[in-house]
Amino acid sequence: MRSIKNFLSKTPTGIEGLDEVTNGGLPAGRTTLVCGSAGSGKTVLGLEFLVHGIEEYGEPGVFVAFEETEKDLRQNVASFGYDLEKLQDEGKLSIDHIVIERSEIEETGEYDLEGLFIRLGCAVDAIGAKRVVLDTIEVLFSGLKNQQIIRAELRRLFRWLKDRGLTAIVTGERGDGQLTRYGLEEYVADCVILLDHRVTEQLSTRRLRIVKYRGSLHGTDEYPFLMGEDGISVLPITSVGLTHTASKERISTGVADLDGMVGGKGFYRGSSILVSGTAGTGKSSLSMTFLKAACERGERALYFSFEESKDQVIRNMASIGLDLKPWIDKGLLHFHNVRPSSLGLEAHLASMHQIIKRVDPKVVVVDPITNLISSTDNSGVKSMLTRLVDFLKMKQITAMFTHLSSDGTALESMEEKVSSIMDAWILLRDVEHEGQRSCALYVLKSRGMAHSREMRDFVLTDHGIRLGDNYMKGRNSGKKQHGAHAGAKRASSVKRAR
């Protein structure tokens, strides 16, 4: 029988995203099973549930560790910035490490697990705990022989937790053909969360799924989650916050001609701009110009480079008259260079979030996102990028993402998927003719503003970027042939030469 209370009473976990996915948190006064394979983040999730409970909701918590010692636990979460010792000293957190050493235990005759109940009760009463984590209670099965007794006692334990109104998490190791190795799901009927740690093409992605949540609406998808320096954060695709304020302020791209194409004032602050083009069309140059313009306005700018080293970028930009050194010296221009293959996508995005929080820039460039996309499957990328774009918008950071497109490949469709979360899309197209190569720029879309439909000649000069005339100008017909484009291009080069 379900009561109304089942539908309403929830205990927020305080874990970023998880409360959205569960529509408010875990069932209050009930036990939730969190299962997953080794290293999937069960322990961290449990600890975070307690730490957030203490710090944000004033609910003390008990952590019963069957596997790790107090010291190990403290060290493991210290990297997330949690000081368990302090919480213990303040009497808000209790950690009980239970050791079951099968080799030193002999069993003879009847027994029960009242000792465990007493210890748990003692810890709960001592600090007035509202939350309990048992990690992982399955150790009982490997530590003791009499399975019948354990099963009966587990049933009693879950009833005991419920009678006391404790919101609990029990963790369980993933088993073959069932959620947990010893079938814990049999005892926990209210909420089951599955954590998964997959490695595809040598790169890891963590996912979370609510397998079951009795009497509650919940997201049924698999959600990617991050385990970054701030702990766990779940990335619900649905939670894309479209509540951010839209700025009316316009900022220059650093290329006067390009600003001219979008109403003479540049793009909106806080918008996301996608720059896509084939190799060597000047995407990095354009994005660097954009960053330099921000620095000239006295704004902090951050450049994520997945392809080139900092020195290489500085050298290359010098060749088109962009001197970046002064801005780096002034502390306005920040670089973050890393190989995309060095980390999984989730780790990249987590670290990007953190760097953005630390640097607190007004303008960010990710050059290129292609490498991130290629590093994992498509759906994951989109949700992660959505999350990143969302985060940037929330902070009113204007972002430019470059994207390497290669005609006729799967990336093209990817580009379209990505473009839907972008506010503006600039295309750089490579044109070849008679041994000559040139580049054209056009603005494919730019939300909320009138923009030129022209295709302009994109030229890298010693003094930065210039846009030439309309590509079609001075041509005799509207034939959409490369030859025709090149003809126009030649015409404009001649014009430039004069």
């Binding site: 079951i100 235990i105 002999e106 003879t108 029960d112 000792g115 465990l116 007493i118 210890r119 009982l140």
Partner: protein, 111 residues
Amino acid sequence: MAGHAEKRQLEGQAKPERWMLRLYVAGQTPKSVAAFTNLKRICEKHLAGQYQIEVVDLLVNPKLAKGDQIIAVPTLVRQLPVPIKKIIGDLADEERVLVGIDVRPAAHTGV
């Protein structure tokens, strides 16, 4: 059966002076009463004059459960001689208890 004290001396091992045994229970349940009765009987039979039993009721002293890592009751802990040994259950099986606390029943039954 011959006297156990003599037998143990025949083994030629350094025999421990004292057996410090601690029995953890949770209240006066049938299981805890049985465990105590069984333990007393086994000790009188095999360790007469050499043992000391301390009964800890976790309902009275719940905090003591942590120290000896008690989760099941009844649990018998052999404090001395070291190393620590644990037997859980009502101690109904004498042989197992003797093996569990290292009183080597094999020496008694051997030819």
